[in-house]
Every structure is written in C-alpha cells, then in structure tokens.
C-alpha cells in the first residue's frame, strides 16, 4: 500500500506530501502520525503541502484532525506551503482551517514550531521568588 513517509528530526516530525491526497492515503497518514508522536514523544509536526493542488472537505478535516490529535499528545502542528488557489478554495468551501497553524515555507514553519515548543517548556529559571 502507498504511504506518505514521516521523517524524524530531533523532537520534530516532518511530512512532505508529494502526491495529491486521496482518502485512504490521508487516513493512513493521520493514524501513522499519531502512532509516531506517541512512540517518539515528538513535540512538533511540520506538514509541507506545497505540492498538493486539491484539498477538499475530507482532506481538510484530516489536516484539522492531525492538529487536534497532536495537541492532545502535547505536540504542535504547522502546515506549510499551502498554494494560494487552495487557500482561496478552502475558504469558499467553508473550511478555513482556523485551528491550524500555517507558515509560508518549511524554514518559516520550523521557526514557528521551535518558538511554540519553547513557549511551552516549563519555566524553571523564573518563579524563584513569589512576585505577588
């Protein structure tokens, strides 16, 4: 069966979708990613969709699901490279992917992920004295 590869880079998981998604493939990616996050304890997921020319409500929902599920597992998801025509179409379809963090490209997406993860690290240095 065809599968979308998931790459591990430190505490991040990287997915580059190179083909147009169809339902089975998208569902497999969703469950594979959840498994991977659990197994590796990854803190961030970066999904590059710059090669994807069509996202309909089914695939849009899967992307939303991935973001929600990873959040529950304590990982942030950033979707990068959405084609402008795809973004316009999603809004008109009625699925603007509001809950999903997006960035222009992989580089910007990485920065955003690292920032998000850093924000969530427990702040040990501060909080030595009670300021209140």
């Amino acid at each position: 069966m065809e599968k979308i590869p998931i790459l591990r880079m430190g505490n991040l998981l990287l997915v580059t979708i190179q083909v147009d998604l169809y339902d089975r493939l998208a569902e497999t990616l969703e469950s594979d990613l959840v498994q991977m996050i659990k197994k590796t304890g990854a803190r961030g997921v970066l999904i590059d969709i710059s090669a994807v020319s069509i996202i309909d409500s089914f695939m849009g929902r899967i992307i939303g699901n991935i973001a929600t599920m990873s959040k529950i597992l304590d990982a942030e998801t950033v979707v990068v490279g959405m084609q402008p025509a795809v973004a316009i179409t999603l809004v008109e379809l009625g699925l603007p992917l509001n809950g999903v963090l997006t960035a222009l490209n992989v580089e910007k997406g990485m920065e955003l992920l690292k920032k998000k993860i850093a924000e969530e690290e427990p702040e040990e240095e501060e909080d030595h004295g009670d300021t209140e």
Partner: protein, 136 residues
Amino acid sequence: MVTLNRESMSIMREIDVIPFRNRLKEYAVKIGMSLVNQTKIITAASELARNMLKYANGGKVTIEVVSKGRENGIRMVFKDEGPGIPDIDKAMKDGFSTGKSLGLGLPGTKRLVSEFAITSEVGKGTTVIVTKWKNG
C-alpha cells in the same frame, strides 16, 4: 449553451476519482481556465464524486466542454442510482451530514461553481449538475 465535447466516466471505487480529476484538469487547462477556477472546479468534483461513492455506491459522471456566447466552461453531470435525498433543503445546509462528516460537500460545491442544480428521488437516485465558466 452548446456542448463542444462530452466524455463519461464511471466512479465505482475511490481509486476512480484520480483519473477523473486528472481528466477534468486537462479540460480546464485546455479551455484556459485560471488556476483558481481550476482548483475550485476540481475540489467541487472531488466532493460530488465522494458523495456518489459514500452514499450511493458509485455512479456516473459526464464532463462536457460547453460554450455560451463568448464564454467557455465545463459542465459536469453526476448521476447515481442510490437511495436519493429525502430533504434536499436540509442536505444543502452547511453542517448537515448523515455520514458523520463536515456537511460541506453540497453547500460548499454550490459556492465553488457558477451554476448548480440538484434533483433527487428517494429510492431512485440523485443527479447533480454543475457548470463553471472559465471566467466565472
């Protein structure tokens, strides 16, 4: 409206959607449709093909290149012999789904195309006809 070209494909399995989408893309490119409109019509087609598979065990789609005055466009007829839709007004509402999904396929498709028509008869089947004009 004049039909310049017509082609039918049957959509019986999920895998049939890919060659259908590719064919549609070829026609859209051939008539010089903008990338945004190509994306809209292929997304709409994807929604309607999925509905046929999910709710009616498949069906048939006809792709036509049509022209009206100076405008060219693509018309598609999705026809199935599934269970039909008892309440079309309800099915056309954002968020209505009997399939535990988002309920955006029909209303979203209507927003993405230039012309949209749906007829359905319980026990007989459903037909959805959409047209997207090149510059529409």
